[in-house]
Amino acid sequence: MTSIGNSDARVRIGLEIHCQLTALRSKLFCTCPADYRGKEPNTNVCPVCLGMPGTLPLLNRRAIEYAMMLALVLNCKIPSRITFYRKNYFYPDLPKNFQITQYNAYEQASVGVDGVVELDDLDGSSKTIRIRRLQLEEDPGRLAYDGSIDRSNYALVDYNRAGVALVEIVSEPDFNAPNEVRLFLNRLASILEHLGICNPALEGAVRCDANVSIGEQARVEIKNINSFKDVERAVTFEITRQRSLAARGIEIRGETRHWDDARRITVQARAKEEEEDYRYFPEPDIPSIVISSKDVEAIKASMPELPHARVERFVNVYSLSRDTAKILVGEKHLADLFEASIKYYDNARSVANWIVTDLKGYLERYDDGGGDGSSSSSNSVILAKVTPKHIAELAMLVDSGKINRATARQILQRVIATGMLPSAIVQSINVDMLSNKDELASIVDKVIEEERKAFMDALSNEKALNYLLGKVMRYSNGRADPKLVLSMLKERVIGTSKTGQ
């Protein structure tokens, strides 16, 4: 039997990922702001993005440049002519009832084709994910319903988002396990952040469809996965669903399913009556764009440092372990925090450990059920309060023996609550470590008095010893030096067993 998490060559998963180019100032074909979030419905619009009669698209040059950057990082080929196509279908969120997008069936016309991404951080092995194409297109508007889509008597349309630049990345079905999908998406999120073209933390900035098939069975599309984090869950669920159908001898139908993130299952989408025919043809209002090798070189030269190079630099310049460096770079804001913090305190490894174990651990506890793979909005609130100076001071205070790690973690919570500097918090609450044996002895005696039974258990059970240690720490408000307390407790236990009490 194969477990779900493990790579299984019979399982084939492909991804279709949409990333908004959130760093652009304007939409793809007009001068409306690209940032539509939080605005009154239908206020972030103009005659062009509303598809008013007689308007024409004016291509955003920077959008092409951003899309080319991403294509290059994903090792795509850039065709010498880039062409836009019209995808024709009727839907109320589409102002022109066609979408300006790209299409490769008649020529290689999209911004990128035939890319490859090496997944080298799988446990011990590596594999290649092929990218079929990377294309630039316009986002449609959004529909709002009165409650659920099935029950609602009407739909309202908001065109604020219509015309925002979207990059679509289509992979070959080269993933064999959900964890490979997660690794790929984390990698992609880090690339997007490092290129500075898309902020994956923004709601709806990254969306993903997945297709899943097992062996020779039909392919199932999963749509409506609105965060990178949910993709792994959706794919895992779908594999389990298909396996259990197969186990009962039920044929798997080729269909489109929706990811219901509240119930964490995939559900059958309303079956389409017939295959949609999009009647693609070249967009007559946007001339083809001729790309020279010089243009490609200029884009390459303009690209910022990428995750891979940054990991190497962290290892070589700051002597971080490769694992630590990868964790930092995996989330650009952590890597940025690291580089800023070591300006205040140059023990790079200590600062890095603080971020990777303590801060990240804290963030993850607060990120249960959060939206996406890289950082949730509550995390960004936290990160806004924790400055490089805070991190540097915490690491310095622990390294100098002034406070212990447990206390430091408590201080971190206060930092987040108050924004005060750790050194100031230490002074205000007197949290210097208690390492005076006489002061500690009274607390230790008190605990033994209260926890007689646990103390007797400790003669034969290490866990009971930890329980007692925990209580001493609590009574000392976490200030006790845990190593010293442990040795004191052991002394008492040994003394007791010797006297046979």
């Binding site: 509303l50 025919d277 009647r279």
Partner: protein, 497 residues
């Protein structure tokens, strides 16, 4: 009120009088509105008149009299006070723009088309919006939700199309200059049928921003006038890119030099080509062929050499043209769905697709025909057989045309192979109707400029002659027209007064 002889003034003559103050623009516009009131019930050239035309006229009078603080900038405005008719598929801010369709019956644009903005900037006054075939689909201005336009010269004949309202308005002196649009001959055909000038410029020379799309890769805004100098004035003002709104226009304002002073009255050293396949075609009416041969000897007398060439690929021209135009139309017209603007209905309790069908059944029959055929040729599996093949044919035709233009300064053709038909005569047979576009569509397929020049009359029916030139060689076309205009003198009437 202004005398009827003044109503027939050319725009450049009118501007002179306005600038010296010998004509009040308010009087002039009022007279023209009165004329429209008395004549247009019969002709039906206008769909909507501009309610603010008189107000705009008064503003100009104030400028000229020095009552407004514009520091005399009016002196530089080359179309000061000129009444401009605008085809009803070109957007005008605040004036409803219907495309002669029920679907846009109440649609009022929020902005001016770039070309309209430029002409208004030069002092022109939009007097009204003119009738046309619905969305530009037709050659007779009979396919209009607002009724057919009648030919001012012969009332029971069509005015041509699809810019029939603009041409009729000029011939009947209900405007001084006019804008049309030309997808496959829609400016030149009515110009020829109404005995005025109609210029289809090089594709992209005039901004298309604000022109309501029918077939984007073929169509241009076209210029219509009763004199060559007026056409030149308009072109000078209208040409140029609009980088703020429109990537598809050419920044060629400076490269088109229109030195009208130095225009020659002869055509010495010019070499023109006629196309055997068209001149010899059975589809060409005898009077049209006679007029063409007469025009031929006219240009020869002016010093030009004319030779006959063959362009075999022309037999694919109509098929290629209609395939591409209908494909693009089927997509362009998808946006008229009753959700955001235009004709709509109560959507309660109706599913999307049902709602769309209900709304979109208000297109006219010819528009429906072209949407359906366009949808068909783009369908998966048919793309290669129709659309792609049409594009290949288009490239072939363009290359052959340009090859001819490498050896000759211009190509000389009839504008329309037929005389203006009677109203109702052709409309029932779409294929026969499509055939008459053969002499004009080739310029749209090749993207080159083409000009229809009023040349003669046969039993009171106007006949035009057409010249096509290399990309951006509009100055040459104007020069040919100027020489012919001078040579023909009073033999050609360009307005009914």
């Amino acid at each position: 009120m202004v005398s009827s002889s003044k109503i027939a003034l050319s725009a450049y003559e009118l501007v002179e009088e306005v600038k010296v103050g010998s004509i009040s623009v308010e009087d002039y516009i009022a007279s023209m509105i009165e004329r429209i009131g008395s004549m247009d019930e019969r002709i039906n050239a206008y769909i909507t008149l501009n309610d603010h035309a008189l107000e705009e006229a008064r503003m100009i009078d104030k400028m000229v009299k020095g009552y407004s603080n514009d520091n005399g900038s009016y002196a530089t405005k080359s179309l000061l006070g000129v009444p401009l008719a605008v085809k009803d598929n070109i957007s005008t801010q605040g004036i409803r723009t219907t495309c002669a369709s029920r679907m846009l019956e109440d649609y009022v644009p929020l902005y001016d088309a770039t070309v309209v903005k430029r002409l208004k900037g030069a002092g022109a006054i939009v007097i009204g919006k003119t009738n046309m075939d619905e969305f530009g689909m037709g050659s007779t201005t009979e396919f209009s939700a607002f009724g057919a336009t009648h030919n001012p010269w012969v009332y029971e004949r069509v005015a041509g199309g699809s810019s029939g309202g603009s041409a009729a308005a000029l011939a009947a002196c209900m405007a001084s200059i006019a804008l049309g649009s030309d997808t496959g001959g829609s400016v030149r055909c009515p110009a020829s049928f109404c005995s005025i000038y109609g210029l289809k410029p090089t594709y992209g020379l005039l901004s298309r921003y604000g022109l309501i799309s029918y077939a984007n890769s073929l169509e241009c805004i076209g210029l219509m006038a009763r004199s060559v100098l007026d056409l030149a004035l308009m072109l000078k003002v209208a040409a140029g890119s609009d980088m703020q709104n429109d990537h598809t226009s050419i920044d060629a304002n400076s490269s088109i030099s229109l030195d009208l002073e130095s225009m020659n009255h002869d055509l010495k050293g010019m070499r023109f080509a006629t196309i055997r396949e068209i001149v010899e075609s059975e589809g060409t009416d005898e009077p049209v062929r006679d007029s063409m041969f007469d025009a031929l000897s006219s240009v020869e007398r002016l010093g030009a050499v004319v030779e006959e060439v063959s362009i075999p690929s022309l037999r694919y021209a109509l098929a290629s043209y209609y395939t591409i135009a209908m494909a693009e139309a089927s997509s362009n017209l998808a946006r008229y769905d009753g959700v955001r603007y235009g004709y709509t209905a109560q959507p309660d309790g109706v599913a999307w697709n049902e709602f769309y069908s209900k709304i979109r059944s208000n297109f006219g029959s010819e528009v429906k025909r072209r949407i359906m055929l366009g949808t068909y040729v783009l369908s998966s599996g048919y793309y290669g057989r129709y659309y792609m093949k049409a594009q290949k044919a288009r490239a072939l035709i363009r290359d052959e045309m340009l090859k001819v233009l490498n050896h000759y300064n211009a190509i000389m053709l009839p504008t329309m192979p037929i005389l203006p038909p009677r109203i109702g005569e052709r409309i029932s047979d779409p294929l026969r109707l499509y055939m008459v576009d053969i002499c004009t569509v080739i310029a749209n397929l090749a993207g080159i400029p083409a000009l229809s020049i009023p040349y003669s009359m046969y039993n009171g029916l106007p006949i035009g002659v057409q010249f096509m030139a290399r990309h951006l060689d509009e100055p040459l076309l104007l020069r040919i027209a100027y020489a012919l205009e001078s040579a023909r003198g009073d033999k050609v009437r360009r307005c009914m007064i």
